[in-house]
Structures are given as structure tokens and as C-alpha cells.
């Protein structure tokens, strides 16, 4: 599984970070950082849950 951001969509809510802190990190003054663009197998479900909770659908999952 790989993750990417849709350009310009992140609005910095940080719900992804709350749901999946090992995958997403939201700095104060920037868009979310994806800590593992290529997601380790044991973190895939967490990564998907974090992507699904984004209210602006900013996170893309590539399988």
C-alpha cells in the first residue's frame, strides 16, 4: 500500500493524525506529512482508517 496527498486539499484538521499517529503527522504551519509513503504491512489498516477519516478526502490510497 502506498499513500499520497491530493494537491492543495489538506486543510489541517488533523483527524488522520489522531486516527493513525504512526502514519500521519500534522506540523503547525504546513500540510500533513505522510511518515511512510510506502506503508509497512502491519500499519496498512491504521493507514486506511486515517485516510478514511479525512473530511476533505485529501489522502489517496494506492494498492
Amino acid at each position: 500500500m502506498e499513500l499520497s496527498l491530493h494537491d492543495g486539499r489538506c486543510e489541517g484538521y488533523g483527524l488522520c493524525e489522531e486516527a493513525a499517529p504512526r502514519i500521519y503527522r500534522l506540523p503547525d504551519d504546513a500540510d500533513v506529512e505522510i511518515l511512510h509513503a510506502k506503508v509497512p504491512a502491519d500499519l496498512e489498516t491504521e493507514a486506511a482508517a486515517g485516510a478514511r477519516v479525512c473530511p476533505v478526502a485529501a489522502i489517496q490510497i494506492h494498492r
Binding site: 491530493h6 486539499r9 486543510e11 489541517g12 484538521y13 488533523g14 483527524l15 493524525e17 489522531e18 500534522l26 503547525d28 504551519d29 489498516t45 486506511a48 482508517a49 485516510a51 478514511r52 477519516v53 479525512c54 473530511p55 476533505v56 478526502a57 489522502i59 489517496q60 490510497i61 494498492r63
Partner: protein
């Protein structure tokens, strides 16, 4: 024919999240999600914001597709639940057997007329696309309701250059945000040219196949090219008639979102037991409930309880507001950064139900917003 497994009724964000939670909790049988809308899961809160304003296209609201191990069927509607024989009955005549079922059929827009005859509402992706089209070329708009959806729709109308009137019981968002933030939103709305008409009682809609205006109890008649009804939502429970699961207009569930043996519910359709059982038709509540429901279906008592963690946001008239904690924000206001007058900052209220923190045009992660609310408790 596949053996019975988990059937999720409802193909929105909550339905899919519940399905993935069931899988994550160790359920290795078939999982089927059915939804009556023709679309893959999408984010509903975005409909009344970027999509309606036209700054984003329809594809921008689509959420990641469900995991490959989940059988997703859009465009299929459930018409009944037979809990004795553990079957979900579908409009197309098929019956899906289940070992466990997730009720995630959500809610629909409440309307003022029976059957919504001629009324325009904003609830689904199709509603939003249609309304966006209608606003192009409209010379006037009338929005009935000053809640989150009504306020955001009015903002989109103004952004589209359409002169807009809002008929509302209170000033905009008073029961939702509390007086301080509501005053700010209302001021920005009127500065943007919105005409607010206050009406406390039921009004009468005018027009047949298409509503063209309203008559207020005092006889005032208001007309517009576009009339949008935004007066809340009603849970989709009619298909559960006879199941014994519906209480006071919602599916009553325990703190693990369980409604009955083999039945869980999550999202806008669910009422969680507690001192004041109520539906909480908001994004994070729906997704949190979905995760609990999916896990409880598989692990029962071993699943964690649902703990409400209120988080809300709205965008209207140049204001982006995010809120952690109980709403409406009430009590003494403390300014943590910026100023309300400058329409930017961080604010905290200590109310009877706990501490509420709001960020106005101020970027802050939900994690930090919640921490500020806890500090203020």
C-alpha cells in the same frame, strides 16, 4: 452462494469504516456493504462547502475505495431486516443472510412538506451537484434554516453572486455555536449582503412542483428563484419497521453500539444510550461509532466502548471555525490567541458541560485543540 457473513447496510463513510473495523478485528468471513446511493463513499461535510462553492469538482469528495476484501454494492436499497432469520431484505427481491449486521443507513434531509414535494434540500452528492447548477443563473435565493447546512448554503449562494435571504428562528448558528461565535458568523453574513428574516413559527411553502417562496405566520411573503430547505435531518429507519430496534426515531444502541444480538448501528441513524440518548449526526461521531460498532460485532464485550469526543467545523462567509468540546459554547470566553474582532484566533469557554475551544481562521490540529479543551476543564 457465499456463506453468510457481515452485512453492512449503508455505503457512506460510516458503513465502510464499520466494515473495515470488523475486518481489522479478525473477522475473516465475507463482508458485504450495500448502499442506496449510486456513488462510492464520499465525504458529506464537504458538499456544502468547497463543492457547492464550485471551488472543487464532484470527484474531490470521494473517499478512498473500500478495501479489496470488502464486497461493495452501491445502488442497492434495503427494505427490511428479519432479525429472527438473520436476513437483510433488498428492494430488488434478494435476501442477504448474515451472522452480523451493521445498520448505517444514516439520515435524510428533513422537509417541511410531506414527501418533500417540490423542495430543494442538500444532503447527497446528487443534491449538491444539482443545487450548484441551479445557482448558476439564479437571481435570488431563499434559505430556510440557519443551522450548519443553511448557513453554509447561504454562504455558497452569496459567493455565486446570488442575492440571498435566510429565514431562521435565531441568528445564524446560535443553538450550534453559542452566542459569541454565532454573533460573529451573523455579522459576516449580513456584511456579505445576506438578509436575515427571523421567524419563530412554522411557515407555509408556496409553489407546486417547485417551491417558489414562503409565507410567514405574520403574512410576510418571500419569493426567490431558488428555495432551499435546511431544517435538520431525520434518521432512515423505515426499513427497520417491525424489527423492534427503533426507539424515538433512532436505533438505540449500548455503549459498544450494539442494538440486539448480531446487530450494531453507527452514524446518523444511531442513538447511543446514556443520560440523554440522542443522535449525533456529525462526521467524527459517525466514524468513531463505526469503528466501535465494527469491532463490537466481532469481539463483543472485549471491544472498547464508544467515548464521545465532540469535534465540529464549519466554513462560511470567510470564516473557518473548528471546535473541540461540547456545543453550543457557553459561559465566560477566554481568548488564547488573536481576537474575535479580527476574525482570527483561539477561544475557550467554560460551560456547564465542560470546556469548549474554538479556532477561528486559525490553523490548529484537532489533537492540540482537544488538549486546550482538557486544560480548561
Amino acid at each position: 452462494m457465499t456463506p453468510p457473513g457481515v452485512v453492512v447496510v449503508g455505503g457512506s463513510a460510516a458503513g465502510v469504516a464499520a466494515a473495515e473495523a470488523a475486518r481489522r478485528s479478525g473477522f475473516d468471513g465475507p463482508i458485504t456493504v450495500i448502499g442506496d446511493e449510486p456513488h462510492p463513499p464520499y465525504t458529506r461535510p464537504a458538499l456544502s462547502k468547497a463543492l457547492l462553492r464550485g471551488t472543487a469538482g464532484a470527484e474531490s469528495v470521494h473517499l478512498p475505495a473500500p478495501d479489496a476484501g470488502i464486497d461493495f454494492h452501491p445502488g442497492r436499497r434495503a427494505t427490511g431486516l428479519d432479525t429472527a432469520r438473520r436476513r437483510v431484505l433488498l428492494a430488488d427481491g434478494e435476501a442477504l443472510g448474515y451472522t452480523g449486521v451493521v445498520v448505517a443507513t444514516g439520515a435524510r434531509a428533513r422537509t417541511l412538506r410531506r414527501g418533500a414535494c417540490g423542495e430543494t434540500v442538500l444532503r447527497s452528492l446528487d443534491d449538491a451537484i444539482r443545487l450548484r447548477e441551479t445557482l448558476r443563473g439564479a437571481r435570488s435565493a431563499l434559505v430556510i434554516g440557519g443551522g450548519f447546512v443553511g448557513t453554509e448554503v447561504a454562504s455558497a449562494c452569496v459567493a455565486a453572486g446570488v442575492p440571498t435571504t435566510v429565514v431562521t428562528r435565531h441568528a445564524l448558528l446560535v443553538p450550534h455555536l453559542g452566542p459569541d461565535l454565532a454573533r460573529l458568523v451573523t455579522r459576516e453574513a449580513t456584511d456579505a449582503g445576506v438578509v436575515l428574516v427571523r421567524s419563530h413559527a412554522e411557515m407555509r411553502l408556496v409553489g407546486g412542483e417547485r417551491v417558489t417562496g414562503v409565507v410567514l405566520p405574520d403574512g410576510t411573503a418571500l419569493e426567490a428563484d431558488v428555495v432551499v430547505t435546511a431544517v435538520g435531518c431525520l434518521p432512515n429507519v423505515e426499513w427497520l419497521r417491525g424489527s423492534g430496534l427503533v426507539h424515538h426515531g433512532g436505533v438505540l444502541v449500548d455503549e459498544r453500539c450494539r442494538a440486539a444480538a448480531g446487530v450494531v448501528a453507527a452514524g446518523d441513524v444511531a442513538r447511543v444510550r446514556g443520560p440523554r440518548p440522542a443522535r449525533t449526526p456529525f462526521w467524527t461521531a459517525a466514524l468513531d461509532q463505526a469503528r466501535v460498532a465494527g469491532e463490537a460485532l466481532v469481539r463483543g464485550e472485549a471491544a472498547p466502548r464508544y467515548v464521545p469526543a465532540p469535534f465540529y467545523w464549519t466554513e462560511a462567509f470567510g470564516l473557518a471555525v473548528t471546535i473541540a468540546g461540547p456545543i453550543p459554547a457557553a459561559g465566560h470566553r477566554e481568548t488564547l490567541a488573536g481576537s474575535l474582532l479580527d476574525r482570527s484566533g483561539l477561544f475557550r469557554w467554560r460551560g456547564p458541560g465542560g470546556s469548549t475551544v474554538a479556532a477561528v481562521n486559525y490553523k490548529i490540529a484537532v489533537r492540540k485543540l482537544r488538549a486546550l479543551a482538557r486544560e480548561g476543564a
